[in-house]
Structures are given as structure tokens and as C-alpha cells.
């Protein structure tokens, strides 16, 4: 049954959809940032699971070992994690300023205040 070999992709899709749902459905701004982080982490798990080789070891050179796990996705994800933390920091800073300007973090209350002012 060859479907059994694909289970890691399904796990990632479930995680991704959980994060996606939080971003579009929940109104609180900080909750949206949490959802975005879950989404990003699930994408990283996807790439790292692509890199794994049956019978390979960690990509550090050792005498006598010939099969190494693919180091290229590791490099890409390393960069992506740091970019992700930069994005989280910027998003949280903007959320703090929005709270100070509008007095609330809920999306619909902020939209209502904008419509009142406009």
C-alpha cells in the first residue's frame, strides 16, 4: 500500500490548515500572528522531511560514513527561521502600536472605528 509512504505530507497539510484557519478566521491580531507562526513551522517541517534519506546520518563529516542527509534544505530552512522571527517581531510591534492608537486588538472593532472616522 503505497499511501503509507506519504503520511508525513498529510501531517504537514493538517498543521498548515490549522495555521491558515487561525489567520483568516480569528479576529484578534495577536492570535493571527500565532497562526502565522504555526503555518511557517509546518512549512519548515515539510522541507526537512523532504531532506531525509533512508539510512543517512546528520550532515557532518565522519570517517567511514557515506550516506548523509541532504544539507541543502537545512540551509534554506535556517535562513527561513531567522526571517520568520524578524517577521514576528515586526508584526508584534505593529500590533502594539495599533492597540495604542485604537484601544483594541479585535479586527472588527478596529474596522468599526475606521468607518466612524471616515
Amino acid at each position: 500500500m503505497e499511501w503509507l509512504g506519504l503520511y508525513n505530507y498529510w501531517v504537514v497539510v493538517v498543521l498548515m490548515m490549522a495555521g491558515f484557519y487561525v489567520v483568516i478566521a480569528q479576529g484578534n491580531l495577536i492570535k493571527k500572528i500565532v497562526g502565522l507562526n504555526i503555518f511557517q513551522t509546518s512549512v519548515f517541517v515539510f522541507y526537512i522531511s523532504l531532506a531525509k534519506l533512508d539510512g543517512g546520518t546528520a550532515p557532518v563529516y565522519l570517517e567511514g560514513v557515506t550516506a548523509y542527509t541532504n544539507p541543502l534544505p537545512h540551509v534554506l530552512i535556517l535562513t527561513a527561521i531567522v526571517v520568520g522571527v524578524a517577521l514576528t517581531a515586526m508584526g508584534l510591534a505593529l500590533a502594539v502600536r495599533v492597540y495604542e492608537a485604537y484601544g483594541s486588538l479585535e479586527e472588527d472593532e478596529i474596522n468599526a472605528q475606521d468607518e466612524q472616522d471616515a
Binding site: A58, V60, L78, I81, V82, A86, A89, L92, A93, V96
Partner: protein, 144 residues
């Protein structure tokens, strides 16, 4: 017996160890997992721990915000200057082979220096982020 004495003594023991571990991860990045990013974050974690236990004002006397901002720019500048040095020595941008007589030594030297630049920038930026978030706290709470 002042309150939080367990935290203060424990932190005084732990913070130098964390800083040392950060330096180890930075320079040992070629032989074991590690490298610039991890080292920068570990280094900034030690300073954040210090700020959480001893207060924001104390840590800002030790590491002033202006110095941290300058360090962040310095790390990126170091990275780019290694690339330009490689161009001046005759190779392409960021080609480390031409930095020394033996290509292996050139590669190793180039990698150590740019990882140092990356570590400095990442650590300085994370400390800046912490200072910005903590320095904005409402007056009656005194910073967190």
C-alpha cells in the same frame, strides 16, 4: 534575606556559562552544529535573562542601546567587507579561495569571519528588539 535571592544567585552562576556557550557555538560552527545565528541568539538570551532578573536599567548601563544599534550595523558591514576584500584580492564577490595562499585556509578564514559578522548582527538585533519592547512599558510597571 531579600526576595528572589535564589533567582539572583542562580542567574549570576548561569549567565557567564551561557555567554561562554554562545562563544563556543559561534567558533565551533565548522565542526559541530552551530554557527552564527545560533550563537547570536544564545548570546542575546543571556543578556535578556540578565535584564529580566536585575532590571532593565542595570542592563542598559552595561550595554547601552546606542552601542547595540552600532553593533548591529557593524556585523552587516563586516560581512560585506569580506566580500569586497575577496574582490580586491582578485576573485569574485565572496569567493574566499583567494584570501590566502592555500585555498583551504582561505575558505576557513572567510567562513569564520562572516559567521562572526552574522553572529554579531543577529545578537545585536535581538537585544534591540527586546529593549524596544521592554522600554515601552507603562510607567507604573517599570518595565518587564
Amino acid at each position: 534575606m531579600s526576595p528572589h535571592i535564589v533567582l539572583r544567585v542562580g542567574a549570576k552562576l548561569l549567565i557567564p556559562v551561557i555567554l561562554l556557550f554562545g562563544l563556543y557555538v559561534q567558533f565551533h560552527g565548522e565542526y559541530s552544529p552551530g554557527g552564527g545565528f545560533q550563537a547570536g541568539i544564545i548570546f542575546s538570551a543571556a543578556l535578556i535573562l540578565y535584564a529580566l532578573i536585575f532590571g532593565l536599567e542595570t542592563v542598559q548601563q552595561a550595554v547601552p542601546p546606542a552601542a547595540v544599534h552600532a553593533l548591529a550595523a557593524l556585523g552587516a558591514l563586516l560581512y560585506m567587507s569580506i566580500g569586497i576584500w575577496a574582490m580586491l584580492a582578485g576573485g569574485n564577490f565572496l569567493e574566499y579561495k583567494v584570501l590566502a595562499a592555500d585555498p583551504h585556509v582561505g575558505e576557513t578564514a572567510g567562513i569564520i569571519l562572516i559567521e562572526l559578522g552574522v553572529g554579531i548582527t543577529v545578537g545585536a538585533v535581538v537585544i534591540t528588539l527586546f529593549y524596544s519592547f521592554a522600554g515601552r512599558a507603562r510607567p507604573k510597571r517599570g518595565g518587564d
